[in-house]
């Protein structure tokens, strides 16, 4: 879907992004993670050419992104940023309608799309369509920002620290919503964050960057079990890596045949949560329930612990 080939950005003599190459699969979420100044935002902004690369190229569906004018390219790619970047003098509906208007959609189609999006993002169109951004809460503003990015049904969505300004509880909800949106529309998402937990929670693949270089790009579990660089190991955290690994697998994936008289857990719960539940209730095993609520299998403490190391 997106191929980044030897992408480089130099300001003067320093390379902010240094020969970075990686591929992003269709319908997946790729998270770029790094400390501030690692070049992660610059890398993201080179994908929609808000920053023009010094060298290298980006292929979108096999076509070089430089083969069309930058503003036309950007209208096909969703873009959401930290602090939402809403236009303060335009209503929520006008903000969401920005890209469809630029693309010249008929007015009726714009209206129905805006209504549809506001409903998806749990904002009652009757209450919020004509409100101004400053009248909304931070979480609502952030949702409008994502709704605007998705308005023209882009195949790709770029997000630069989209949840950075939210408090932890609203952030967890926003992350959950984003996963739901991604499943619903099948959008390919590239997201930048400095928060490793967020990266592990959202990313199918995670790119770890430091000082302009891409250190490792892989599935979260592989980053934990086989870090190729000491910096990656430090970023992922050494002290609780076993728990992080358990958090990446769901009970449904790990369930073994059989039954148990222990506590009942949902198949969507992570192994970390199941282990915590077992410790709390002093049980040796738990029943894993399927989506329909019927028992699907069981999990023992030993089986869980066996998954907590490489």
């Amino acid at each position: 879907m997106i191929q980044v080939e030897s992408l480089t950005k130099q300001y003067g003599a320093t390379a902010v992004v240094d020969r970075v190459s990686f591929d992003i699969e269709r319908n997946s979420i790729a998270v770029i993670v790094g400390t501030s100044g690692s070049g992660k935002s610059t890398l993201l902004r080179m994908i929609n050419r808000l920053v023009e690369p010094t060298d290298g190229r980006v292929l979108l569906d096999g076509a070089d992104t430089r083969s069309e004018p930058a503003h036309l390219l950007r209208r096909r790619i969703g873009y959401a940023i930290q602090g939402h970047g809403l236009f303060p003098h335009r209503t929520v509906a006008e903000n969401v309608a920005t890209v469809p208007r630029l693309l010249g959609w008929p007015e009726a189609r714009i209206r129905s799309r805006v209504c549809e999006l506001l409903e998806i993002f749990q904002l009652d169109p009757g209450l919020y369509a004509h409100a101004f951004p400053h009248q909304l809460s931070g979480g609502q503003q952030q949702r409008v920002g994502v709704a605007r990015a998705l308005a023209a049904e882009p195949a790709v969505l770029l997000m630069d620290e989209p949840f950075g300004a939210l408090d932890p509880i609203i952030r967890a909800k926003a992350q959950e919503d984003l996963l739901g949106i991604q499943r619903r529309f099948g959008t390919t998402i590239v997201l930048v964050t400095h928060d490793m937990d967020e990266a592990f929670r959202l990313g199918h693949r995670v790119a770890v960057m430091s000082q302009g270089r891409l250190l490792q790009y892989d599935r979260p579990a592989v980053l934990l079990t086989h870090p190729t660089d000491p910096f990656v190991a430090r970023m992922t955290g050494l002290s609780d890596r076993a728990m992080k690994l358990l958090a990446l697998t769901t009970a449904g994936e790990a369930a073994l045949p059989g039954s148990s008289d222990g506590p009942r857990v949902a198949s969507s719960a992570s192994l970390r949560e199941v282990l915590s539940e077992l410790v709390w209730s002093r049980a040796a095993s738990a029943v894993v329930l399927g989506e329909d609520g019927a028992p699907r299998g069981q999990l023992t403490v030993a089986a869980i612990l066996a998954r907590g190391h490489p």
Binding site: R75, T98, L102, S137, Q141, G145
Partner: protein, 365 residues
């Protein structure tokens, strides 16, 4: 009241009781005392405003009545002007009214309507001839033919130089915002121009404009000369540039960086970002600059009369030359009214445009 046998003789004071019937003079004093009581004892802004406006009307009408009583029928030489007490009272009542209006916090539209109403009442009273026996109106009667053209010329000089300054200053401000390196030299130069006294600037401009007119017949045909309207407009234009350029730069800088980034990121062209996001968000600050310029220009056009630029300043300087205070007032009062009206209207415009309260541009998440 001040009574003069003719316009240049020194005036002699007359007291109200000597001029008006006893009931009128006493009634007038009662109204003043009542208003003073309201000003001290009543907190409600609406009542204070009504009291102040009522007292102003009574004051003005009393002065008009006194002037009528003092003027012998058919005498056109006698000059009757309100004395110092009138001006002091007018200032006090004006303060009372302004204070009351401020406390009531009327909306932008309401303030403009209030202004329009006040002007309409004043114009109606003038047209009725209510004040015809006051000295200022006597001067008006003498200069009736010259007053309207000079008034329009005044507005044209102030407005024309403003429009020229906006046409040049707005793009210059945008350029300064886009290329920050240009800012210090451009703003520095405009700052220096701003410090040149008006008369000096007129003088400086006389030589080049005179030379231009002498060398280029087309320029002379356009009315460009060393003296007259041309140097006045050029000088006002130069003075106007600094507030407009500076406010454009500040206004654009105030626009949230995230909004501009997002606008570019979703595929607006730089021109669309400027016209759709940056300028609308900077507009309140830019209009504030225009307000400063317009009020400043309306005042400064007065001086243009010194170099033959015309405008209401003509009356002011003629009056000074003839030691005829009434003629000075004939020029000065409309200038004050013009400047005040321009200020109120543009302030209201700024408020209507500023849909985002600047106090909370980024509410806490």
């Amino acid at each position: 009241m001040v009574f003069k046998a003719n316009r240049i003789l020194p005036g002699e004071p007359r007291e109200l009781q000597q001029v008006l019937p006893a009931w009128a003079a006493l009634g007038f004093q009662a109204v003043l005392l009542l208003t003073a009581a309201v000003a001290i004892g009543v907190a409600d802004a609406k009542r204070r405003l009504i009291a102040a406006l009522g007292a102003v009307s009574v004051l003005v009408l009393t002065v008009a009545a006194a002037a009528n009583a003092l003027t012998p029928a058919g005498n056109k030489v006698v000059r009757v002007a309100p004395g110092t007490a009138f001006w002091v009272l007018l200032i006090c009542l004006g303060l009372l009214a302004t204070d009351a209006i401020t406390r009531m916090r009327p909306g932008a539209l309401a303030r403009v309507l209030l202004l329009a109403l006040a002007i309409a009442i004043a114009v109606a009273a003038l047209a009725q001839g209510t004040f015809d026996n006051l000295s200022v109106m006597r001067e008006y009667a003498v200069n009736a033919g010259r007053f309207p053209p000079e008034l329009w010329r005044h507005i044209w000089l102030a407005g024309g130089s403003l429009i020229a300054a906006v046409i040049v200053g707005l793009p210059l401000g945008i350029l300064c915002h886009r290329a920050p390196r240009l800012q210090p030299p451009v703003l520095g130069t405009l700052n220096i121009i701003q410090t040149i006294p008006a008369i000096a600037l007129f003088g400086i401009l006389m030589a080049p404009l005179g030379a231009l007119a002498a060398r280029v017949p087309a320029a002379a045909a356009l009315g460009i000369r060393g003296i007259g309207a041309a140097p006045a407009v050029v000088a006002l234009f130069l003075y106007s540039l600094l507030p407009i350029v500076a406010n454009t730069v500040v206004g654009l800088r105030r626009v949230s960086h995230a909004a501009v980034d997002a606008a570019l990121g979703v595929g607006m062209t730089p021109r669309q970002v400027l016209s759709g996001i940056e300028l609308p968000l900077a507009l309140p600050v830019i209009i504030t600059g225009i307000r400063v310029v317009l009020v400043q220009n309306i005042g400064m056009v007065t001086i243009a009369a010194l170099i033959g630029g015309g405008g209401l300043g003509t009356f002011v300087f003629q009056g000074i030359g003839q030691t005829a205070v009434d003629l000075v007032l004939l020029g000065a009062i409309p200038i004050v009214v013009l400047a005040f009206s321009a200020s109120v209207m543009l302030d209201a415009l700024v408020e209507m445009l500023d849909r985002t309260p600047s106090a909370s541009p980024e509410p806490a998440p």
